[in-house]
Amino acid sequence: MAQVKQITFENAAAQLIEHVPEYKAIYDQKREAFGEESQYVIFGLPFVQFLREVVQHKAANDTLLKRAFFFIEQCANTDDEDILALIRTGFLEDLIKSGTDEETFVPYMGAKTKSLLAEIKVWWAKFAEANEKNDLPR
């Protein structure tokens, strides 16, 4: 695994590419389209879709998946609330809300990543409950 420098919200996307250089073409495209502060795009659905393609050839891409989730776990272990929010609602939320079978990825997740995944599920359960009670107009 590449050594993890101090992760900040500003350098998180660049560090993701140091750990998962295979994602760089998409990273470059999204930064070009959306600018420097596109962390929520880079860690979001495009990254989830990239991992979904990668996991289809799990045996060949096992080390890539380990690298990717090792870095996510390093992010999850910071105490920077902006980074934690990025992992919860940028990455993990898009993972569970995009129809991805999250169980495929759980074996690659570290303990803190799993804990953040549980937190965002709790949030969505509360949101769903409020939606139901409020009887949303359709």
């Binding site: 495209q29 999204k30 389209a33 959306f34 600018g35 502060e37 596109s38 962390q39 929520y40 795009v41 979001g44 659905l45 495009p46 609330e81 902006d82 934690l84 929010a85 990025l86 919860r88 609602t89 940028g90 939320e93 898009d94 809300k97 995009s98 129809g99 937190e119 965002i120 709790v122 949030w123 509360k126 949101f127 409020a130 939606n131 009670k133 409020n134 009887d135 949303l136 107009p137 359709r138």
Partner: protein, 125 residues
């Protein structure tokens, strides 16, 4: 652009429904269909949670967080909303072609999210 022309409905609380803080927020318009731009399509799928049901957009989650007191680990969706709004602004500013069929969609998305965040909406010069 949208099935109801982008019109929004204000939530109406039923007489006997439980009192909850977020009852006044406005629902997002239906998911728009992006025809040209793959990057914007990705952004729509981030904002409309690709596998979501009605009432589950990023703007809706922001409205919910701003309308509730108790939070699960902070206002995470507000932060996400602020950054996605910047991404949308960049997309709009970089594309000077005002005739693009996707531009009104980007403005619709921007204004829905800006409305949720309670900040100024996009106005074309």
């Amino acid at each position: 652009m949208t099935s109801n022309g982008g019109k929004r409905k204000r939530r109406v609380k039923k007489k006997n429904s439980p009192a909850i803080d977020e009852s006044q927020y406005i629902k997002s318009p239906p998911k728009p269909f992006v025809t040209e731009d793959q990057d914007l399509r990705d952004l729509v799928n981030i904002m409309y949670y690709a596998n979501a049901i009605i009432g589950e957009t990023l703007a809706d989650t922001v409205r919910f967080e701003l309308g509730t007191i108790e939070q699960v680990k902070g206002k995470n969706h507000v932060k996400k909303g602020q950054l996605i709004l910047k991404s949308l602004r960049n997309w709009l500013e970089k594309r000077k072609n005002r005739d693009s069929v996707d531009r009104p969609i980007a403005i619709l998305l921007y204004n829905d999210l800006a409305d949720a965040l309670q900040i100024e909406i996009w106005r074309e010069e």
